[in-house]
């Protein structure tokens, strides 16, 4: 049986893959060599909580975490391309909506971006999608 985290990850990755005009995706723990001058995104699943939702034996569990998507665009061309990419991703994972995979429904708590920063030959804006699920 797939772990709950497999389904949570799949729910986010499938959704990300379906977002229109998203550039290359550097999937977690897969070999990826960024090409200088070409935008890409780097998603990462970061679980932050796993705890019983109620007291008693065999309780329902509460899971919480972040699906973080770092948006990389070539440096030196201004922030507009990264801003657009971040906006597109936030829109796709808007707060109070759900993503699902194989019967697992993950609720989105918030979708927000941080400030951009230079990272090698790229300018990067992180987008944090906060999620939770009871299972």
């Amino acid at each position: 049986m797939a772990s709950i985290y497999d389904n949570i990850r799949a729910a986010f990755e499938v959704k990300l893959n379906s977002v229109t005009d998203v550039p290359s995706i550097a999937w977690e723990n897969l070999s990826f060599s960024p090409t200088t001058g070409q935008a890409y995104v780097k998603p990462r699943l970061i679980p932050t909580r796993r705890e019983p939702a109620v007291r008693g034996l065999n309780p329902q569990m509460y899971y919480q975490g972040i699906f973080r998507i770092e948006c990389y665009v070539p440096e030196g061309n201004g922030p507009a391309a990264a801003d657009d990419l971040a906006d597109k991703i936030i829109e796709a994972f808007e707060a109070t909506t759900d993503v699902s995979y194989s019967g697992t429904i993950v609720s989105i708590r918030y979708a927000e971006r941080e400030q951009g920063e230079l990272d090698g030959p790229f300018f990067m804006i992180p987008v944090n999608i906060g999620w939770y699920i009871y299972s």
Binding site: T48, Q64, I66, E114, G130
Partner: protein, 138 residues
């Protein structure tokens, strides 16, 4: 018409104040403890740069790793415990009657290059640590 405020009201107010102070202390302790646990430790400079302040206070800590030796595995855990204790002492020193919130900062000078340090077996970059802290305690 007469309104009498019984002594028990003030006792309850004192109790409420005490419970609120305890709740704030607990939250502050959880935040600093998470910050320390999530921190990569190599020389200890990054974890030493955490600071917790009452809202409005601008004291910052910025410890450089330059010239500092790498810590052993035991030394790293000891460093974490030392910094946790320092931050807990800081929380205990707050004047809770005046407190309108608190901020947790880290202004280590090498914060931008921590991701590039292959000696650090950490799963999270400083920017991700910030995101996790915000997620857990928002």
């Amino acid at each position: 018409m007469q309104v009498t405020v019984a002594k028990s009201f003030f006792k309850k107010m004192d109790l409420l104040k005490e419970k609120t102070e305890q709740a704030v202390k607990t939250k502050a302790s959880e935040v600093v403890s998470d910050a320390v646990d999530l921190s990569p430790v190599d020389t200890g400079a990054f974890v030493e740069s955490w600071q917790i302040n009452p809202r409005g206070e601008r004291t910052r800590r910025s410890r450089s790793p330059a010239g500092r030796p790498r810590l052993s595995e035991a030394g790293r855990q000891a460093k974490r415990e030392e910094e946790r204790a320092r931050l807990m002492d800081r929380v205990a020193s707050f004047d809770f009657e005046q407190l309108s919130g608190f901020t947790v900062t880290n202004t280590a000078p090498h914060i931008g290059s921590i991701n590039q340090n292959n000696n650090l077996k950490t799963g999270l970059s400083p920017s991700e640590i910030q995101a996790v802290l915000k997620d857990r305690h928002r």
